[in-house]
Amino acid sequence: MMKKRLGRWKALLYKDICDLRWNGQILFNLIGAIFLISILAVVPEENLSLSFLLGFIFVMLTMLMQGHLMVEEQEQRTIRRLKQAGFSFKEIFLSKMLVTFTVTIFVLVIFSVLYGNHFFFIVKLFILVLPIVAIMLVVGTILGIKTKNTIEISLYGTPVILFYFFIEGLLMNSSKDSMPWLAIFPNYHLHYGIDQLYLNEPFLSYLAVPAIWMTAVIFLFICWYKKQKY
């Protein structure tokens, strides 16, 4: 039974990987993200924070990619066959999350190589960004479930993107003490957590708020998901 289930998961991953290679929208975001972080690594911009670059990866790549992968099963009318083959809706979105997470990690590795200075920096960075990546995966999944096509993903994803960058903008243009209320947002902790990593100072305290956000978002998502009919 387990072997059969694993085989079906492999099938879905095989299909998504074959499909991703020609998915223009996702490729555009992926190449765009790699290009941006590479250019800014070579030509450093003093006013641009690393958390802004990471935010670009999370919203433009992680969230939109997850949304696209989810909605395309509906848009291409292929989900019926997956369900009949024995996949639950939960398994479908978890497999998509796995693909999106892998691609995000791949871009983060490039990011760490370009901006990091030692191996432990990479490990610590991954731990620091994990809650925000999880939040974006959940937001992308909700977008994918609630929308009908990829255009709607971009449309309804835009307010999330704008809000994220609005907070980033405030963080970039203020000192740590000038707007203390920003500390309720996970971006704040990512922003100053990265500073801690560069200074080789303890950073775990900066994980608390993002972790709370992540837990709350996942909990709300589960509650909402259970009320849906699939």
Binding site: G7, R8, A11, Q84
Partner: protein, 335 residues
Amino acid sequence: MAISFNRLKKIEKNTVLLPELSLTVQTGEIIAVQCENEYIGHFFELLNQPHQIKKEAITLPEGGFQSVYLFQQTDGLYKRLTVMQMLKFWCKLYQKQADLELILNLCELQTCATKKAKLLTRSEQCRLLFASALIQQAAVYIFEDPSLSLDLQSKHVLHNLLIHLADRGAAVLLFTPTLEEAIRLGHSVYRYSNRGIRQLEQDIEDTEDTVEEKPGEEMSSIQVQLDKISAKIEDKIILFNPLEIDYIEARDGQTYLFVNDEEFASSNTIKTLEERLEPLGFFRCHRSYLVNLQRVREIIIWSKNSYSLRLDNPPGSTIPLSKGNYSKLKELIHL
């Protein structure tokens, strides 16, 4: 028995969405059901939500719904995957080892094996979906109007596929709104309407028996000896020149005249019309069909037991030609 429906129905508020369906499909059997599109839609909707079906209303093969292959018009393909990648994906999904070359050959997809699904024509896409039937290796195959918008090549593929599946011991059930397709594709043909499901051959025999019981009525129509064939629309009676008629179909105890893609109900039985029109070049090609031979453009041979006639009327209608009548037709046209 591979699958059985026992008084399966769906009623919503005061509307009967799906009339009572009682049907058993045996292994190796191909059953074609002719019914309205609306019923087909509701039937497949129900199959996609098995929890809504009462347990006693359906007997499934071992393995439940996962052993049932469903072909639906709304099924799609992953547009960026090539034909070969799609086949490999299905092999992995259903955990089946399949000879992909053989499948490509059976579905006549060899030339587009490396083509992306989005670049395939509608007929090629359907053939690719048919290929999944060969990979899934289910016990029961249920098709929703499989020949809709198919080209001739794909219709041949579908015909061979159904025979292949039945030979392999699977039970095949297909739903189509056109009687011609039902007769062409099925070993047994049923008509499913708001009155329930009835086997077609019996249906026609019953109609003819009823006709024989009323000789008085028949006599009166023969005595008139009209050159024109009448059809009634509301309060009007239209008279057609017999040679205007493309073909005549008997359905639900009623006879319909097909003239230039329009359908007119006639009060005459098909048997009466056959007697009157035979001297004018009409031919009884099937129990339910009488065709104007002047309109026949093509005789399509699907297999040694299955034939169709293609007409040169504007919609290019195809009507069934039964095996026995094929020999008669050959003699008639000195083939």
